[in-house]
């Protein structure tokens, strides 16, 4: 609060994820209306590894208004390394591999990731990537198709 360079503080994984969980579950202040995320199994997953997220397809793209579901895995290296994301809803996007896995390199997240980034940041990056010129007009599978 005072005179402390809090940027240097290394927030432990569990604390960081708890904070993210709280934000995701409150869903309120600060979380963009097109993103949502939460623990996949809040009762069992004490390590808070498996998360689910949704992205609302951006307006002006072929994914407009679609609700896209993703599985998010925060391994033990998180938040040193970005979370792994995999689409459950079928999409056709250059940064998404054939099995729905998000290619973090193509996305740019792998390079830009800092440890104070969050699941929200990762999802946000996916959301914004959908609006790239090479993505916005990409033909999409019928809505509701899943991997």
């Amino acid at each position: 609060m005072f005179g402390s360079s809090s940027e240097d503080v290394v927030v432990p994984r569990a604390f960081k994820l708890l904070k993210e969980l709280e934000k995701g579950e409150k869903g309120g202040a600060g979380l963009p209306p097109y993103l949502s995320y939460g623990l996949a199994d809040a009762d069992e997953d004490e390590d808070m590894r498996a998360w689910t997220g949704t992205i609302l397809g951006p307006a002006g793209t072929t994914l407009d208004m679609r609700v896209l579901e993703l599985a998010i895995e925060c391994g033990s290296a998180y938040p040193e390394r970005p979370p792994e994301m995999r689409f459950k809803t079928k999409v056709n996007l250059p940064f998404v591999k054939g099995d729905g896995t998000v290619d973090l390199k193509t996305l740019g997240v792998a390079q830009a990731w800092k440890r104070n980034n969050s699941i929200e940041d990762a999802l946000n990056a996916v959301y914004h990537a959908m609006m790239r010129p090479e993505c916005r007009r990409a033909p999409q599978p019928a809505e509701g198709t899943r991997y």
């Binding site: 579950e25 209306p33 579901e69 946000n124 990056a125």
Partner: protein
């Protein structure tokens, strides 16, 4: 049957709230209908039959589940996606297949992990510090993040400004002039920073308020029919009288006594955990000493407030005045107490100050007492374990805030706790512990109070 309030947020930011939701019985299907109806009221592009999907915690909610099973709790925010074809986009992919998506979701019930929000901790009720910082109402300001950041800047860049603020308050100025040590403590940016930190730290404040409440309820439950004020009154006055009698030629106090004769008379210098002993060192000694002595163990700064109240009683003032105007009496009182005497011997300047009736009278001024009480509260807060118990006086004067010794040793146990929690930066941990007076919980909050980034 308890009901909750749920907020529903649309992608365009619009928000509606459903009050009185019984989440244990309301299904997602019914909730969708209610939300659609509500949206239709204000948005002509939506009718009640519109396909409204609810998204919570990263899932599309299944129709047959109840909201409670989906983990919705009071004040949860649920995202709403409406699939109508009213948007001006060129694609028309938003068809009625949406329900298939929803049904296919393998959503399982989520227990809902508790989400403690420390940010809700009460700030209110803290009246201290206003005077010490040169103006009442300053505290409310301190809770304003903007003001706080300005204060922070002020502290780090222009400590002398704060000193000016302090000195603009007559009571403070006199106290500081009479006691250079106090002055230096109060103008030390680090001390001030800690004071402010405490005042504005929710968890420390919350703890403080709890202690306060406890102390007050203890007082109220005190057996023997003493109300708190009377107790204060007699605790202070009776010992003074006794001392006066010993010293034969003291003026007889005239104030009415309400003491139970069987009640043991407290030692004016005892009780407060060496309040007087430690006290004289930095504070205007008489005030610190007397108020502490009068309070007795287990009492708190809130009682100092009462004492100030009491000092406004004319009879009490008269009694005190007569005591104060007799320097010999006072000195003999001080000499009665070994600790006090020791201190006096070690510090001739203080002896002089203490023997000055005018100064003592000044210190008994209710205004000054109150200001001191507030300061003590602040100092007490900043101390490890300072709390409200008898240690107030002593803790206040351990110069200035931090316990002696290298922080690695002083906070050894706290540091290892932080380490166990995964905070590995020794330097940051120490800084946080120092700032929070060794309170691990507060230190964690402090460590966590850094903003997240974003690269989008």
């Amino acid at each position: 049957m308890s009901t909750i309030a749920l907020h529903f947020k649309r992608a365009n930011g619009a928000k509606i709230t459903l009050e009185d939701v019984d989440a244990t019985t309301l299904t997602v299907r019914d909730a969708r209908a209610r939300v659609a109806a509500r949206l239709a009221e204000s948005d002509a592009t939506i009718d009640a039959s519109a396909n409204v999907r609810l998204i919570f915690k990263g899932r599309v909610l299944r129709d047959e589940a109840t909201l409670a099973a989906c983990g919705c709790a009071n004040e949860s925010v649920v995202h709403v996606v409406t699939s109508t074809t009213t948007t001006t986009t060129t694609t028309t992919t938003t068809a009625a297949t949406a329900t298939a998506t929803a049904a296919a979701t393998a959503a399982t019930a989520i227990g809902g992990r508790g989400t403690a929000t420390a940010s809700d901790a009460p700030f209110g009720g803290f009246g201290g510090g206003g005077a010490a910082l040169g103006g009442s109402g300053a505290l409310d300001l301190m809770n304003n993040p903007f003001v706080r950041s300005q204060m922070e800047a002020l502290l780090s860049e222009r400590p002398e400004t704060l000193r000016e603020m302090m000195e603009s308050q007559p009571g403070m100025r006199e106290a500081m002039a009479a006691n250079p040590e106090l002055a230096s403590a109060l103008t030390d940016p680090e001390t001030l920073r800690r004071m402010m930190n405490t005042m504005t730290n929710p968890s420390l404040m919350a703890e403080q308020m709890r202690n306060n409440d406890r102390a007050m309820s203890n007082i109220e439950m005190m057996p023997g029919g003493f109300n708190a004020l009377r107790r204060m009154y007699t605790d202070v006055q009776a010992p003074m009288e006794r001392a006066a009698e010993r010293d034969m030629d003291a003026a007889a106090p005239t104030a009415t006594r309400t003491v139970n004769p069987d009640e043991p008379l407290p030692n004016p210098w005892g009780g407060a955990g060496g309040g007087a002993g430690g006290g004289g060192a930095a504070m205007p000694p008489a005030g610190g000493g007397f108020s502490m002595g009068g309070i007795g163990g287990g009492a708190g700064a809130s009682q100092i407030e009462q004492m100030a109240e009491m000092m406004q009683n004319p009879q009490m003032r008269a009694a005190m005045d007569s005591v104060m105007s007799n320097p010999q009496m006072l000195e003999s009182m001080l000499n009665m107490h070994p600790q006090a005497r020791q201190m006096m011997e070690a510090n001739p300047q203080m002896r002089e100050t203490l023997s000055n009736p005018e100064f003592l009278r000044q210190m008994m001024n209710p205004e000054n007492l109150r200001a001191m009480a507030q300061m003590q509260q602040l100092f007490g807060d900043a101390m490890p374990g300072g709390g409200l118990g008898g240690g107030l006086g002593g803790s206040m004067f351990a110069p200035p805030v931090a316990p002696a010794g290298p922080p690695e040793e002083v906070y050894a146990s706290q540091l290892s706790q932080l380490n166990d929690m995964g905070f590995f930066s020794q330097e940051e941990n120490i800084r946080a512990l120092q700032a929070t007076g060794g309170n691990v919980h507060a230190a964690v909050e402090r460590l966590l109070s850094n903003p997240g980034g974003g690269f989008a």
